[in-house]
Structures are given as structure tokens and as C-alpha cells.
């Protein structure tokens, strides 16, 4: 080891490590925790950005010896003591500090920018941010953050409106006041899993399958196990014989248990073959080289077409079991089971599967009379829309640290579902839940992928059997090949309509590709119908859904579930039908969209593996979103370009989602009045950067009339909190927020009851007021929370004031919206530019309006990526050939629309906490159809598959 002298943040520092170590790794190890890594030294994502000799550089691409005598600045330099600098304050205020894995790097970049250009232009901001990949909040409010930082510098205060405010009668709900964890995140505090890993942690390394489908004939680990520093090698031969699945869903799950930790059959390139627990990565790699695996490759299928073909190779062909509702002919069915190495498939209840036809799940249903509906139509369109395999690309990859402490397994996790993690780890390890402690750390990007227990199962087991502290982190390649992805889907939409624009019938035939395992195999594809058909006031509607196993990288939950894909199909089909009938698309939308009070009979068959609730449309901002969006984009007016090769078109789509799963989701919280009158709220909810903890804190503040700094939210810790199904299906605000509200309302009641006793008054005469006291409306006497709490626990009191809240509901608060796009299309080169994008959404009461806006920007950017650029490409052997960020094609700031607006439609919902509904998932749904319809408006061709790229456009135009 050598020492390298450099100046870091103004201080002379001697860095000790090998000359050829990457500077990023050394900086992080030395304590500069803001310098993170999102791309394994790809030089793309910018989480590793530093200022090196005055210039922005990726520290992953600098070797340590090159830092000799260098001047280095990291985001740690931005703080003055514990105080944020202007840029950091502005970033928090603007709402862009969300999952925030690279927020400190972004703050450093913008600080540097303002040093170079005190009043930068939009182009200068764009150029500075060209180095960094932002997946969560989009880029739009970064421009605002720079403006706010300048205002703060120049005037001492923010001058610009950050976001609109809602509910004037409330103090803090609906007001943009920042995020409770914003300062910690933007300053680079050690809040992520990787920051909790001690130096003595062992590593888990996974050997992965090179084949898309193969039996493991033999696996010899003996040489590896003899290696010094190897604690265990886990394979199919010695892992628990426990079948489970990795989706974090309510138990019993609507997904088959079709895997063990390791299987004797590998089912995709990247599937687990062996897990090595070793003292160092180097020892793990050496051990991996000593493991001899003999494979017996078998034929594979990669598409739903291949999977459904007669005689297709079967991805699973073992015995099928049911925990409930087994069919009468199951024994007969299982006589056809194949090689014992196939393993079992266990359904918790019937999902209408047939694994001998590669069908993991299916569902169909209808309302009305489809045949009659189509017979009444003056025109019918019948087209198929194909979506591609998309990766979430969170900046923080999947990561886990597990260790054993006091006879219990403790897991630091980056997860959306801490309680599901605990349950599944409990199953896998064969230990009860009281012996497992899950600590959800800050989540550096999830988007649905951290709804699945993809790394905690094996890491937890490895730590439990070895007793070692074990750290595991996916490489970026593993994020692509061994993670979860958006299900590729084929949606055939048949739609009939009359000349006056009335839609007479809609039929959706959906075939989804769930990959090798059945995580979310029913629920995600079901959303393609259950979150699209209920947008329509049509009497005759039906769906037929089949989900196929294949040998592609696994699929799972992704923000929006199947809705972005179904919305793409159904809205494109409606636009095609309007075109065929010669009527304006908007007129057709307005004629057929649902309105408040319309009874949604279609929901009956669209539950998550069980019968759905038929409910009327509740609060609905759809009309306002459509009308306002049409006005903003000047719908009906044809824009012309100066260049005849460039054609301009407009499109829009109406969208919906849910707010959790009524009848399935469950959330709880405990509110405690501390001894000094402050409040700690223990929420079971899992804030994944979206501001859920801030919502809970605001609810406390609003109810108890205390300032934010007197409230702390502890969430997602299975020891200190109480059960919550987790942050998925847009449930956070609605379910976890409502649980917090129930708990705090009860706490308030208890405070008043205790105050009544202490003050000698009737509780009915008491109320609470700022800055945190009880007062008597009758006598004018007051008692601070601190005094009240102190007396309550003083030895003669009645004990700490604590309340527990639990929330379940059958109510369904559906967010609605409309997304609008204006595109320019070059008919000679196929280039497509999104010039304008307007996202208008009814989120009920946006409790954190600035954060809500940024979630919309972020979701739209992801969705633009899916629509136009992103695509996992597999070769003929099922290998992903673009398993890195650069080759895969995520959109960066350059791809953001020039004119980009998010608008919150003001609707007050009767069931949401303070009228709130969900905000984020729905924002993934509109871009694809809006852009697809706009492309047609521009140049007359329908692009019916993702990504709608230049090559496909040129083909559709007949140029190639």
C-alpha cells in the first residue's frame, strides 16, 4: 500500500491504497460517502462525480495515483457545519431530492456551475447536468432549483413559486415545505445500506448461469470450500428445500411458488447457480473459478409466441401443488411431470395456470354482449401493440447487508416491503419472524423492483448459516440480467364504434411474458386491463389474459405495473378508431370516458386473483385534465415546421391507476408523545424516496398543531414499527398515510383525555393549538404537550400517551389524468423529438405538491424512455447484449422535452387522508400512447411497438 497526497475539500489528505485502485472506491472508503457508484465505472450515471482540479470528473475513471497532488472537492465540502448550502437548500425546496442516491453529486455539480456562471442559462444548466443520470424526479425542477439558489444567494429568500398550494384551511398539508429527510439525503449522510456495512463484512458472490435453460448435472464445490476465507458455498445441493417466490405481495400471494434459493434447473442467463460467502471479493472470485458445474442445456423459449407454440419447450415441468382450490384432476395432471430436477410449482390458490403449456396464470371475463357490441359498430379496429423488456435502473442497485446479533438475523435492506422481506426470509431460513429484524434504509431508487425480495433471501440465509456479516450488491449487469424487469407484453385491442363516436365494444387480448419465474405473473399483466377498461363508459367490454413463462431475464413489478402497456394499446386503438371513423379523437374520448358516479361493472372480474369490488367512479378530475391539457397544447391546431422534412403532431391519453389495493392492503402506525412533548411516529410504511415519511410527519403536524421539527418519523423497521403491506400499487399515501392519520387522531383523543384529567376539565371543552399545547375553550387554561407528557410518566401518572392506528378499506380512490405530447418527426431521417409534454393529474389533495410534481416529471421521463429508447436486447441464446446503462439507452437531460409541465388538478377525495390519492405510478401510463398518437398526427403512421424509434418509423414510412 502506498500513500498519495492530495487536497480534499481544502484539507491535505493522505490516501492509502493501491496506485491503480479507482479514486471513487478510495474516497468512499476514506469517508467521503457522498461519492457513490451507480454504474460500476461505466462513466455514465455520475453518482461518482467530483470536482478534480477544478473540473467535473467521474472519480470512477480516475486511478488513485492520478490524484497525487490533485485538488479534489466532494459534496461534503458543500456543508457549513451541518448547514446546507444554497444549492442544497434549493434542491430540497424544489422537490428534487427524492430517492437521492446521487443528489449530493447533483448538488456539487450545480454549486460548481454557479461558481462558473452565477446566473446560468438553461443551456448551461443542461450542459452541467449532462453528466448525471436522474431517474426519480426528472430534470425539470433542477432548473427551478438553480433559480431558487440564485434567489437565496441574492435576496436571502426564495422568491419564485415552487409549487401551487392546496387547502388554504390547512396549515401544512398541501403546502410545499420540503422533505423531512431532504437535508440528510442531499448532504450525503450515511443513510443507505452500503453505508451500514462494517469493514469486516464478508461478501456474497453469485455464480450465474451462462445458459437460458439447462439442468445442472453436477456441481463440484469441494475445491472452493477448501479455500482459506470461504465460509460457505450454497447451491441446489445444500440449500433449503423451500419453494417460494420473490414478489413482495400480500400473503397468500397471487404468484406461484416456483423456485428455491437454488434450483437444479437454471431458467435464464443469469440465474443463480451458486452463492459463495468469502472474506473478500478476491477470494470469492478465486473460489468461483474453482467450482466446476456441468450443465445439460435444454431448449429455451424467449417470446410468448414461442412459449405458446405446440410442443414448445417447457420452462417449468414439475409437479404442481395447490395450497387451496386444487383441481380435481391434479393427480392426473402431475403424471405428465418431467425430470425431477424441474422442481415443484405451488399455487396458493388457482390462477388458471397450465404450466404444461407454459401458462403461469390467466384470466378472462366480460360485461355486456361483445358480439352484439361489435355488430352494432360502424367501424372496427383490431390491432396488436407490443411492449418491450425494460429495466428499472435505480441509481442504487439491489443491495443487502445481513448479520446475526443476539441470536437474531438483522438485515439492512433497500426495500419497498420490509414486512414481506421478513416473511420470505423467515420461510427460506426456517426461523420465526421474531428472530428477524429488517431495517429499511433509505432507498436509492426502487420503482417497483425493490418490491421484490431479490437479494435479501440469499444474503439473509448466507448470514444465518455462516454467522458472518454478509454484504451483497448487484453489479449493474446483474441489475439487467438477474433482477426484475417490466413484463414484455402483447396487447391485441379490438374496438368498435359508431359514426357518432360511441364505442360499442372493446376486447383486449393480452399475452404477457413473465420470464422464468412467476413473480407478479397475474397482478402486473392484469393491470393492463383493470386500470384501462374502467376508463370507458362502454357497455360491452371483455378481456382475455394469458401470462407465459419464458427463458428471458425475470419480469416483475415496475411502476405502473401493466397499466402503461394496456394504456398504450387501448388509447392507440381508440385513436385509430377515431381516425377510421373520421372523427376528432378528443370528441371520442369525451363521449366515452367515465364520469363520477358511473358504476364500474367491469371491475368484478378484475381483482388480484379473486373477485374484484364493483364500485362507482369516485372523485374524478379526468374532464378537467383533458380540457385544460387540450387548451395548453392548443388541441385541434396543426403546427407547421419551417423545414418540410419535419412534421409536427399532437396526441394525448387519458390515464388512471389505483391508490393501493382495497380489501388486500393493510397499514398500521403507532404515534407516541415523547416526554418533552415531541412526537415520534412509527410507521410501517416504506418511504422509498417519494416523501411518505414527510406525509406522515405533516399529518402529525396538522392534527397536533406542532412544527415539523418536533416530529420524527421512524418507518419500515420491523422491530419498532407495526405491520404494513409496503409501498407498492400506489398504496403509500392512501394506506400508510391513512394509518398515520388514524394513529394521530387517536393520539390526539388520548392527549385530550389525559389533559382533561390533569387540568380538571371536560375533554369536550379542550382542543389543541400551536405550537403544541392543549387549551381550554371554557377556562382559557393551557397545558403544553411537554408538561402533559412529563406528568403522565412522572411515577404517579397514567403512562406515556401512545396510540395505534390501523387502516384497511374497501374504498377505491382512483387517480385520473391526461398526458399530452407534441412531437416533431423527421420523415427523411426518422428522428423523433418530444417538443412538448404536459402531464395533468388528479392526485386528490397533493400533500407534498412540490414532490408530487417531481414524481410526475420523473415518471414521465421513464415513460418517454420506455416509449422511445429503452429496450433490453437478447441474442439468440437469451443473453442480454446491452446490459449496461449506455448501451441500454436511458433518457438523460438531453432527451427531456423542451416544454415540459406537470399540473395538479385539484380534486378532494373523500377517502384519502386529507383528500389525497396516489400520484406517481399513474404518471408512467400516458407517454407511450400520447407520443404514439402524436407521431401518427405528424406523419400518418401508427407505431405499434416499443420503443417507437427512428428505425421503426422509417420502416413504417416505407423508407427501409
Amino acid at each position: 500500500m502506498e500513500q498519495w497526497k492530495c487536497k480534499i475539500n481544502g484539507e491535505t489528505v493522505f490516501l492509502t491504497s493501491k496506485a491503480t485502485d479507482r479514486l471513487r472506491d478510495v474516497l468512499y472508503r476514506t469517508g467521503y460517502r457522498s461519492v457513490r457508484d451507480s454504474d460500476d465505472a461505466e462513466g455514465f450515471a455520475g453518482s461518482d462525480t467530483i470536482i478534480f482540479n477544478g473540473k467535473l470528473r467521474y472519480s470512477n475513471l480516475i486511478l488513485l495515483y492520478q490524484a497525487e497532488n490533485a485538488e479534489i472537492r466532494t459534496a461534503e465540502s458543500l456543508l457549513h457545519g451541518r448547514e446546507l448550502n444554497n444549492v442544497q437548500k434549493a434542491m430540497v425546496a424544489a422537490g428534487i431530492v427524492q430517492s437521492a442516491y446521487n443528489a449530493p453529486a447533483a448538488a456539487l455539480i450545480l454549486t460548481w456551475l454557479l461558481e462558473q456562471h452565477p446566473n446560468p442559462t438553461k443551456e448551461q444548466i443542461k450542459d452541467a447536468l449532462s453528466s448525471i443520470f436522474i431517474r426519480d424526479a426528472g430534470y425539470e425542477h433542477y432548473y427551478l432549483a438553480v433559480k431558487l439558489a440564485c434567489e437565496l444567494r441574492d435576496t436571502g429568500a426564495f422568491q419564485s413559486e415552487i409549487a401551487p398550494s392546496f387547502r388554504p384551511h390547512l396549515d401544512i398539508i398541501g403546502k410545499p415545505v420540503g422533505k423531512i429527510d431532504g437535508a440528510a439525503l442531499v448532504s450525503g449522510e450515511p443513510v443507505f445500506v452500503e453505508d451500514k456495512v462494517p469493514e469486516n463484512a464478508w461478501v456474497l458472490h453469485v455464480i450465474r448461469s451462462p445458459f437460458a435453460s439447462a439442468y445442472i448435472k453436477s456441481i463440484d464445490t469441494s475445491e472452493a470450500e477448501k479455500l482459506d476465507g470461504v465460509a460457505a458455498v450454497i447451491t441446489a445441493a445444500n440449500c433449503p428445500d423451500v419453494y417460494y417466490m420473490q414478489a413482495g405481495q400480500g400473503n397468500p400471494e397471487p404468484s406461484p411458488h416456483d423456485r428455491r434459493l437454488f434450483n437444479w434447473k437454471v431458467r435464464h442467463v443469469g440465474d443463480r447457480v451458486a452463492g459463495i460467502v468469502a472474506r473478500t471479493p478476491e477470494i470469492a472470485f478465486k473460489a468461483a473459478s474453482l467450482i466446476h458445474v456441468e450443465y445439460e442445456p435444454t431448449d429455451a423459449v424467449y417470446t410468448v409466441e414461442e412459449a405458446m407454440a405446440e410442443g414448445a419447450p417447457l420452462v417449468h415441468n414439475g409437479p404442481v401443488r395447490y395450497n387451496a382450490g386444487a383441481p380435481a384432476d391434479l393427480d392426473e395432471y402431475n403424471k405428465k411431470a418431467g425430470d425431477p430436477r424441474e422442481g415443484d410449482v405451488i399455487y396458493q390458490f388457482p390462477l388458471h395456470a397450465d404450466i404444461r403449456k407454459n401458462i403461469a396464470a390467466s384470466n378472462k371475463g366480460h360485461i355486456g354482449d361483445l358480439e352484439k357490441g361489435f355488430a352494432e359498430a360502424d367501424a372496427i379496429v383490431d390491432h396488436t401493440y407490443q411492449t418491450s423488456q425494460i429495466q428499472h435502473t435505480p441509481l442504487e442497485p439491489h443491495v443487502c447487508y445481513a448479520h446475526v446479533e443476539n441470536g437474531r438475523l438483522v438485515i439492512n435492506a433497500s426495500t419497498q416491503v420490509p414486512y414481506h422481506v421478513r416473511r420470505i426470509v423467515s420461510w427460506v431460513c426456517g426461523i420465526p419472524e421474531n428472530k428477524i429484524h429488517i431495517i429499511k434504509e433509505r432507498v436509492g431508487g426502487g420503482y417497483g423492483s425493490k418490491q421484490d425480495i431479490l437479494v435479501e433471501d440469499l444474503t439473509g440465509y448466507a448470514a444465518w448459516i455462516t454467522g458472518k456479516p454478509v454484504y451483497y450488491r448487484n453489479t449493474r449487469e446483474e441489475e439487467f440480467i438477474a433482477n426484475s424487469t417490466r413484463h414484455p407484453m402483447r396487447a391485441r385491442v379490438k374496438m368498435g364504434g359508431k359514426k357518432d363516436g360511441t364505442i360499442t365494444a372493446i376486447f383486449m387480448e393480452v399475452c404477457a411474458n413473465t420470464g422464468p419465474y412467476g413473480n407478479h405473473c397475474l397482478t402486473v399483466p392484469m393491470n393492463s386491463c383493470s386500470k384501462t377498461l374502467p376508463l370507458f363508459k362502454v357497455d360491452n367490454m371483455g378481456y382475455d389474459l394469458k401470462v407465459f413463462y419464458t427463458n428471458t431475464p425475470p419480469a416483475g413489478a415496475y411502476q405502473g405495473y401493466g397499466t402503461p402497456k394496456g394504456t398504450y394499446g387501448i388509447m392507440m386503438a381508440m385513436a385509430e378508431l377515431a381516425d377510421k371513423l373520421g372523427i376528432d379523437y378528443k370528441d371520442m374520448v369525451m363521449k366515452n370516458r367515465v364520469e363520477e358516479g358511473y358504476m364500474l361493472e367491469i371491475l368484478k372480474g378484475l381483482g388480484e386473483g379473486r373477485e374484484g369490488n364493483v364500485v362507482p367512479v369516485g372523485s374524478c378530475g379526468l374532464d378537467e385534465a383533458i380540457e385544460k391539457g387540450c387548451e395548453m397544447i392548443n388541441w385541434g391546431h396543426k403546427e407547421e415546421s419551417d423545414d418540410p422534412d419535419w412534421k409536427i403532431g399532437k396526441g394525448f391519453a387519458m390515464i388512471m391507476q389505483g391508490s393501493g389495493l382495497p380489501g388486500l392492503d393493510h397499514a398500521e402506525a403507532i404515534a407516541k408523545l415523547e416526554t418533552d412533548g415531541t412526537v415520534i411516529l412509527n410507521s410501517g410504511g416504506a418511504d422509498l424516496g417519494t416523501g411518505l415519511d414527510t406525509i406522515s410527519a405533516k399529518i402529525v403536524c396538522e392534527q397536533l398543531k406542532v412544527p415539523m421539527e418536533r416530529v420524527t418519523v421512524v418507518s419500515g423497521d420491523t422491530d419498532s414499527c407495526v405491520f404494513d403491506t409496503g409501498a407498492y400499487a400506489s398504496s403509500g399515501t392512501f394506506f400508510s398515510g391513512n394509518a398515520s392519520l388514524v394513529a394521530v387522531k387517536k393520539l390526539k383523543e388520548k392527549i385530550l383525555a389525559e389533559a382533561a384529567l390533569q387540568m380538571g376539565e371536560e375533554a369536550a371543552d379542550l382542543d389543541v393549538r400551536a405550537p403544541g399545547e392543549v387549551y381550554s375553550k371554557k377556562t382559557g387554561k393551557s397545558l403544553t404537550y411537554g408538561e402533559l407528557s412529563h406528568t403522565a410518566i412522572s411515577g404517579t401518572g397514567r403512562g406515556q400517551v401512545v396510540a395505534h392506528g390501523s387502516f384497511v378499506t374497501a374504498a377505491s380512490s382512483v387517480p385520473y389524468g391526461a398526458h399530452f405530447a407534441q412531437v416533431a418527426v423527421n420523415v427523411k431521417t426518422g428522428e423523433i423529438k418530444v417538443q412538448k409534454f404536459y402531464a395533468l393529474q388528479d392526485a386528490g389533495t397533493p400533500i407534498n405538491p412540490e414532490i408530487a410534481l417531481c414524481q410526475m416529471y420523473g415518471a414521465v421521463m421513464k415513460s418517454i424512455g420506455h416509449s422511445l429508447y429503452e429496450n433490453m436486447i437478447l441474442d439468440k441464446d437469451g443473453r442480454c447484449v446491452n446490459a449496461n446503462l449506455l448501451d441500454y439507452g436511458v433518457p438523460m437531460i438531453t432527451e427531456a422535452p423542451e416544454d415540459f409541465k406537470s399540473v395538479l388538478i385539484d380534486v378532494d377525495d373523500k377517502d384519502g387522508p386529507y383528500g389525497a390519492k396516489s400520484i406517481s405510478e399513474i404518471a408512467c401510463n400516458g407517454a407511450a400512447p400520447a407520443i404514439g398518437i402524436a407521431i401518427h398526427d405528424a406523419c400518418g403512421v401508427w407505431l405499434r411497438s416499443w420503443p417507437m424509434n427512428s428505425e421503426k418509423l422509417l420502416k413504417a414510412l416505407g423508407k427501409i
Partner: protein
């Protein structure tokens, strides 16, 4: 991994020759040091002490040091606009701050930001070989396997021209980059390489392949169409 620190271009070239199979030059490092880059498992000949980092007018020529970064090129008013535009094809500022002109050319990537535009500009390379300095036309250099160390790139200082990039996103590998300056046309096509000549018909001389940047027919079409676009 060994690191060599030559003090002269000649010393660097000799080291490269002596360690032909095991060593690579290291300048900016954005390609060599990146995930799966050329430096993986290799020794490094660090050329960062060799100067070659100025952009200056020499008579009627513009002389660009090989160690100038793409950001140096993009920012410099002496550089013709269309060449500055090509430097911005490296869409990330942090990469442009590190990536060097010589590195971008020396790797002979077929999505090189600069190969087409400098070839169309009839740039000439000053390079160092084990036998001393040599001058070579850039097009010839890029189409050869010459391992000489690029020291400077020279172009006519008043050169004008045009360049156009086609790629999935701004950060993606380019599928096609087309450039024209005077009567010289050049194309960099992903998976196919560089072609240039005195006619816009040069696209026909390449063999196109399907890859992650697009299908063969797509790239062929773009290559054939690029020079017909309105400017």
C-alpha cells in the same frame, strides 16, 4: 498492473513497442478505464506528462494537441464550429472533461465522435513512431493498424463543413456520423467503420451489420441519406 510514466513521446512509443501485448496508452481514461475498457488487465503507459495539450494557430493551420480534451475542443473559439459540434457528440460534460482527442481517435472506435469530422476536414496527424516523428493523413491512420502515438492533429484553420450524428439517445453509441468538408465526405458507421471519399456515394462501399444501434438496412439508409439533408 504496472504503470509507466514516459517523459517523452519517443519513450512512450518504445514502451508500447516493448510491451505490445500487455500495455495500453492512458490519457483521459474514459474509454480505457471504463467498465470492460481496454485497460482491463493491462499495464498502463501514462502519457499525461507529455504535454501535447494546446490548441493553437500555426501559420494557416490549426494545431490540436492530442491530449486536449473534448471539452477543450468544444470550448475553443479557434476551432471551426462543425468540429466543435462533433466534440459535443460526447454528451456528458464530465466525460468531455477527461476524454482526449488523441484517445478518441487512437481507439479507432466506429462510433468515434471525431473520426468522421476530422477525416472530412483532411486533418493530418503528427505522430511518434519508434523511428521518429511522422505525418499521416487521418483517414489513412484510422483505416490502418498503425500504433504510432498521436501527438497533434492539424487542419486548415479556416476549414468549414458540416456534421450530423444519428443515435438512439444523445449518450448512446452513434449509429451513423456523417461529415462533409469541402469535397470530402466521411462516414463513421457503427459495426462497419470509417469510409471517406470525394463523393456522397461513399455509403455504398461499406458492409452494414445489425447491432445494438440498429439494423443494417437502417444504418445503410441513414448513411445514404445523410448527405442529402437540408443544412
Amino acid at each position: 498492473m504496472n504503470i509507466y510514466h514516459p517523459q517523452t513521446p519517443l519513450e512512450a512509443v518504445k514502451l508500447r513497442k516493448e510491451n505490445a501485448e500487455t500495455a495500453v496508452y492512458l490519457a483521459g481514461g474514459t474509454d480505457d478505464l471504463r467498465l470492460g475498457g481496454a485497460a482491463e488487465g493491462k499495464d498502463l503507459i501514462d502519457i499525461n506528462a507529455l504535454g501535447m495539450d494546446k490548441i493553437e494557430i500555426c501559420g494557416d493551420k490549426l494545431c490540436i494537441g492530442a491530449r486536449c480534451t473534448l471539452q477543450d475542443l468544444a470550448e475553443c473559439d479557434l476551432v471551426p464550429d462543425f468540429i466543435r459540434e462533433a466534440a459535443y457528440f460526447c454528451s456528458s460534460l464530465a466525460r468531455r472533461n477527461a476524454a482526449t482527442v488523441g484517445g478518441n481517435l487512437g481507439l479507432r472506435r466506429d462510433d468515434s465522435y471525431l473520426a468522421a469530422v476530422l477525416t472530412a476536414s483532411e486533418a493530418v496527424l503528427d505522430s511518434m513512431t519508434p523511428h521518429g516523428e511522422k505525418e499521416k493523413k487521418i483517414g489513412e491512420y484510422l483505416q490502418s493498424s498503425c500504433k504510432a502515438l498521436i501527438m497533434n492533429i492539424k487542419i486548415d484553420k479556416d476549414r468549414t463543413g458540416w456534421v450530423k450524428r444519428f443515435g438512439n439517445t444523445a449518450a448512446s453509441h452513434a449509429a451513423v456520423i456523417a461529415a462533409q468538408s469541402g469535397d470530402v465526405y466521411a462516414l463513421s458507421v457503427h459495426g462497419s467503420g470509417l469510409v471517406y471519399g470525394h463523393s456522397p456515394e461513399i455509403a455504398g462501399s461499406l458492409t452494414y451489420v445489425d447491432d445494438i444501434t440498429g439494423g443494417a438496412a437502417y444504418k445503410k439508409y441513414l448513411a445514404e441519406t445523410a448527405f442529402t439533408l437540408r443544412r
